[in-house]
């Protein structure tokens, strides 16, 4: 499972908000920290907002606040908002069908077997993302900070 730039930015943003649950943070503040354009980040935050993970704050300065439960929200909850997590499997199938049509059954068998291995890796990645909450991630950040 290869994460897109938007997904990584969403994970970083969710962690920034979860680390300071009562604090209103501006998109510009987070964009600056992660060297992203505020316009790009705004789109990511709108998606997080629609999922109920952040809430837009009205009034002077605007910004967003965390609206989820860091002990319950997992990395996968954020990732699923931006990625089609069934994609690798269907990509493998598509590749298999294409191979069968274009190069015959032998190529299909190889592609199909590779698809099995790639799916195995993918399932491990998904289980890992499902098992790590934002709070656990924040603890990991703190431990690595030392």
């Amino acid at each position: 499972m290869k994460l897109q730039k938007n997904t990584l930015l969403a994970l970083c943003s969710a962690l920034e908000f979860a680390a300071r649950p009562g604090t209103q943070l501006s998109a510009a503040e987070i964009a600056d920290k992660y060297r992203m354009s505020p316009h790009h980040l705004a789109k990511v935050l709108r998606t997080l907002g629609r999922a109920g993970l952040v809430r837009a704050a009205r009034g002077a300065g605007g910004g967003y606040r965390f609206a989820g439960n860091p002990r319950r929200v997992t990395l996968m909850d954020v990732i699923e908002l931006f990625e089609d997590i069934s994609a690798p499997k269907s990509a493998a199938r598509r590749a298999g069908r294409r191979a069968k049509a274009e190069a015959g059954a032998a190529a299909f068998e190889v592609e199909d077997a590779l698809g099995v291995v790639l799916s195995e890796i993918d399932e491990i990645a998904k289980a890992t993302f499902r098992s790590i909450t934002l709070e656990t991630m924040l603890k990991l950040v703190a431990r690595r900070r030392g």
Binding site: R71, T74, E135
Partner: protein
């Protein structure tokens, strides 16, 4: 999203559980807890675990969380030397908490206690193995700072 509401019993429980070695009289409650979690009642299995791990045997731990005579949870594990090519380390192979006692820190107490036991035996690493879809318990171990180990479990059908 991990869904786990804090039960009223856990919220109300002001008395901390005491972690101690299992006794034969606890076994029925341990079997109940496990059956409540897995849906399988394995009395014979737990009897065997009690025989092999009970009574404070060297390198083996079977601990329970006792709150006023009610067993709230259990943990089982041991120190294994050079298994899977690894230097001696602690293994936790069973942990369970009554659903109505969760979110009260019982599992954390149990894990801390067994890790203390492992440390006393001179090991500095603890490991466990879980089903990939056991999100609840995986999340618990993750929350305790556990990370992926440098092992890959493998299997095949023996048809």
């Amino acid at each position: 999203m991990i869904s786990l509401k804090k039960p009223a019993a856990a919220r109300a429980a002001a008395v901390a559980a005491r972690i101690r070695g299992v006794q034969a009289a606890d076994l029925e409650q341990v079997v109940d807890i496990d059956a409540g979690i897995t849906g399988l009642r394995k009395a014979a299995y737990w009897g065997e675990i009690l025989r092999r791990y009970g009574g404070g045997r060297q390198q083996r731990f079977f601990l329970v969380a006792d709150r006023g005579g009610r067993i709230e949870g259990y943990v089982v594990g041991d120190v294994r030397d050079w298994e899977f090519g690894s230097p001696p380390c602690g293994w936790v192979f069973g942990i369970g908490v009554r659903p109505d006692a969760r979110i009260g820190g019982i599992a954390t107490q149990l894990l801390d206690a067994i890790c203390d036991g492992f440390r006393r035996l001179g090991v500095d690493k603890v490991r466990t193995l879980l089903a990939r879809d056991n999100q609840l318990v995986l999340s618990f171990f993750r929350s305790q700072g556990m990370m992926a180990a440098p092992f890959i479990p493998l299997e095949k059908d023996l048809g």
